[in-house]
Amino acid sequence: MEEVKLTSMVKTSGCAAKLPPDKLHSIIDSLPIMKSKKLIQGFETADDALVYSIDDENVCVQTVDFFPPMVDDPYIFGQVAAANALSDIYAMGGKPAVALNLMCFPSCLDLSVMKDILLGGMDKVKEAGAVIAGGHTIEDPIPKYGLCVTSFMKKNCVITNSGAKPDNYIVLTKALGAGIINTAAKVDEASESSKKDVIKSMTTLNKKSMELSLKYKVYASTDVTGFGLIGHLSEVAKASGVSISIDTKKLPILEGALELARFGFLPEGRYSNEIYIKNEVNFQSNISREVIDICYDPQTSGGLLLFMDESDAEKYVSTFNDDCCKIIGKATKKDKKLLYFF
């Protein structure tokens, strides 16, 4: 069978393939909310995963995530998709326990491609210390892969996106710009070193980020994916009733991303994210257009955003010991806008 580039089969890829937030919210905000005494966290606060009570002390945390490929190597695509799906559990402070595969696969591709995607996913699930228990596969002209992941944890250990307090410091654990580099890479405009860096970042589990955070008090947490840094910060600000102030000079940015933004290699999601949230955001006038692009850029398998006390945030970053993990700003009392960038 002829070898086909996975990314040539898709229009949008990775988390940039998310339905634009304005379209999504126009529907889900109009749906009736299903209530259950056992459902502690549903989709009302746009959190990363649901929280369902098992008994007085224990809860089940569950999430699902899947998307079309952003890389041509099927094994790497499987790894990225799995790391991204597992991340929602880490963002809730949980450890993944069991996962199910979700696979959409075109009939024109060799079945060995599907096997490699599944092996990539399996290896990341194994690294997470979880197990794949099954899945579901359908035929579809555009390949897609992801996982439904479940975690079991103590109710009082769950970290939601609604607990941020004014004066919390905000730590980001991975560099930004993945959407831009993936967009450029699709047409061979990204450098080899940028491609290598973005794959390393996207295939890295947020396991270390979460496990290290267990040593400290984390008030709120989420992960940065398709709605970009701005979209996910705004979800925390909204759910927690605070505003957030970000120092753009502190943002960790993947090498090459700013330059590619200058040349217009930006995913469509960068613009739909801006359309949805721009009225809630204030950018200081001296911030460059490329840095603004980075803030709106949809991330695939991005890092965690952790809201902590100042001294804990400093200790966390110093122990994490990686240039990609930085304190990027702080939460403040609720102001006129949700987010301020300076």
Binding site: T183, G264, E268, Y271
Partner: protein, 70 residues
């Protein structure tokens, strides 16, 4: 001088930017480009400005005509 026209309607990013890059290589004096989504319009504008061109944009009914010239 009459600029060469490029119809990039129906294409999604990053293809329009790539097409403009190729188009300007063959026609360094400039191009007239038609697109039908805001991302393509913005991205082509960035590419053209970064490579030293002026861009004059007209929008009508969710279609954009970009005049890219020196």
């Amino acid at each position: 001088m009459l600029l060469k026209e490029l119809n990039l309607r129906g294409l999604s990013c990053p293809i329009p930017v790539l097409q403009v890059k190729k188009g300007l290589k063959d026609n360094p004096e400039g191009l007239i480009v038609y697109v039908d989504n805001i991302a393509a319009c913005e991205n082509i504008t960035r590419f053209s400005q970064t490579t030293g061109y002026n861009v004059d944009t007209k929008e009508k009914d969710k279609e954009w005509i970009l005049k890219i010239s020196k």
